[in-house]
Amino acid sequence: MLEVKNLKKSFQSGDATVHAVGGVSFKVLNGQFASIVGTSGSGKSTLLSLLGALDKPTSGSVQVDDRDITSLRDHALTTYRCKSIGFVFQGYNLVPNLTALENVMLPLEFAKLPKAKRVARATELLEQVGFQADQMQRKPGKLSGGQQQRVAIARALANKPKLILADEPTGNLDSQTGKMIFDLLHNLAKSENTTIIAVTHDLSIAGKTDVTFRLQDGKLKER
């Protein structure tokens, strides 16, 4: 279970202090698909980076299975990000000079899996997202947006994380491809019993998730 307690994050911008996230508290149960909606600048991405241990909060806590990740040191945070969290970004963020297969193998390498197991796991995941063998050897520049996002989803699932954080996963895709990607993410997460928290503008997608949080000016307004 993911439990967020009174989470705050402030930035200094010149002389002014910006409260990007101002005292957010919520819970997401294991295996749930949660969405966070809100306008641009409402603090969605900042909240996601705090949940993913990409940034440290000013105060508050993020507990994953009763473990407070905000108190972890750098090395433990790296391990946590590697093994417990998968990220899916709006811009895919694949490494451009690596093939689809190599991109999926990256988090497995960071988790110190032997090469044979890395290849087997990455191939399995890419097959699950609909890739043929020849497509796996293509670099991101030779793949469509939908294909790149499928590689990104496979990469996020590589180390069988407990939590997947998706930042506008369908934001760069047309509606049909976006729906396909959403369904793929949903189905894979269910089959792997993974919790998903997705930031989205798309209310039609938000409406299909198990739980939706609305963020405004850094605070949860309604559920």
Binding site: S45, L54, T79, R81, F89, V95, L106, F110
Partner: protein, 456 residues
Amino acid sequence: MNVITRGIRNAFRNTIRTVSIVTILGLSIGLSLAMLVAHQAVGEKINSVKASVGNTVSISPAGARGFEGGGNALTADQLSKVKSQAHVVSLTESLGDRLTTSDTNLQSAVDAGSLGQRFAQRSGQSMGGPGGGPPALSQDSTSNSGGTTTTFTPPVTVNGTTDPTNLTSSGPGGGGSFTLKSGKVFSSSSTEDVALLGSTLATKNNLKVGSTFTAYNTTITVAGIFDAGNDFSNNQVIMPLAAVQTLSAQPGAITSATAKVDSITNVSSVTSAVKSTLGSATDVTNAADESKNTIAPLENIQTISLYSLIGAVAAGAVIILLTMIMIVRERRREIGVLKAIGAGNGKVVGQFMVEATTLTVLGAFIGIALGVVAGNPITKLLVDNSSNSQTIQGGPGRGGRGFGFVRDNVSSIHAAVGWDIILYGFAAAVLIAVVGSALASFAITKIRPAEVMRTE
């Protein structure tokens, strides 16, 4: 795929940039190697010149040099003052003399040739004939209808010495290296009528160790035969100093002395001290002072090459530093992604250091090839430029051994690229890569994974 293979592949992500950086680094490393080659070659030459000059000071009567000039023989008192000088470790004393056909049964092994005839005439010696006085040196006279024709025969030189192995060029020894071919060397304090013969002189007179010959109306026994490496010195007789002083009726006479100094760095100060002590009665010289003219341009080249070497290595480090900073800035988001999906700082930094090392090693291959090809020409160019400027400064009339000596020494430098230089090249490349990517690595550690979210 791991950190190393990813780093190597990343080095080729942008072909144009890779080619440009590798070429510039290659030029930088090549220049570094060429300067290192020049620095080493010139350093070896300086050591060689210093070693060839030796750490000796020559003392001769004022106005005398070998058998030229005049002056009075050195005295025991003068020599004891030389011995008492600080840093003087030993003193070799010698008395030079010449044996004419009337003094010895030895036949000279050197033909007079046109030079010998001219020297004899120019030295004021009569060559016989009408009005001519008696010849001072060995000559064969024949009469014909036009008068007497005299053929000059070069004399045999006798060197009475306390150190028979020391063939100093300023004394009667005539220079060269002493190599005993047979027999044995007499002791420095010997008074026996024994002699060491130069190899050509011994051959000319069919003499071997144990043979005898006549000089000063005395029978002299051949104790050994030596090779000095040149015909002039091989036409001489080396005898105990005391024996020559007695036989030539010059008791206590010394025509030259060589003081050995404890270190080459003290040669100049000892020379000054001896000059000051003995005053105008003697000529005191050393080869070290003359060698300064030779070494000065070499030291200039060494300094130039050292600074150029440092500059080229620093330029290489700056090139790779700026390149890596540019690459890190360019891939800021990618670094954030790597960290977000579980890469530690060590993995990311390692990947970038492998990339920097790949670029520099490629540059090193080009640089080493350039260094091998250009090392010797660049050294010669530096030497030529330096020696030309030295000629202009020194001018042709400065005396001593002159610039011809300097130029001969300087221009004979050969710069070779050995395995040690190549290893230095690779070591420099790795050093450049490590130093050059250090700041970029620091920048990488400061990139937070959250950066990738903010730029989204």
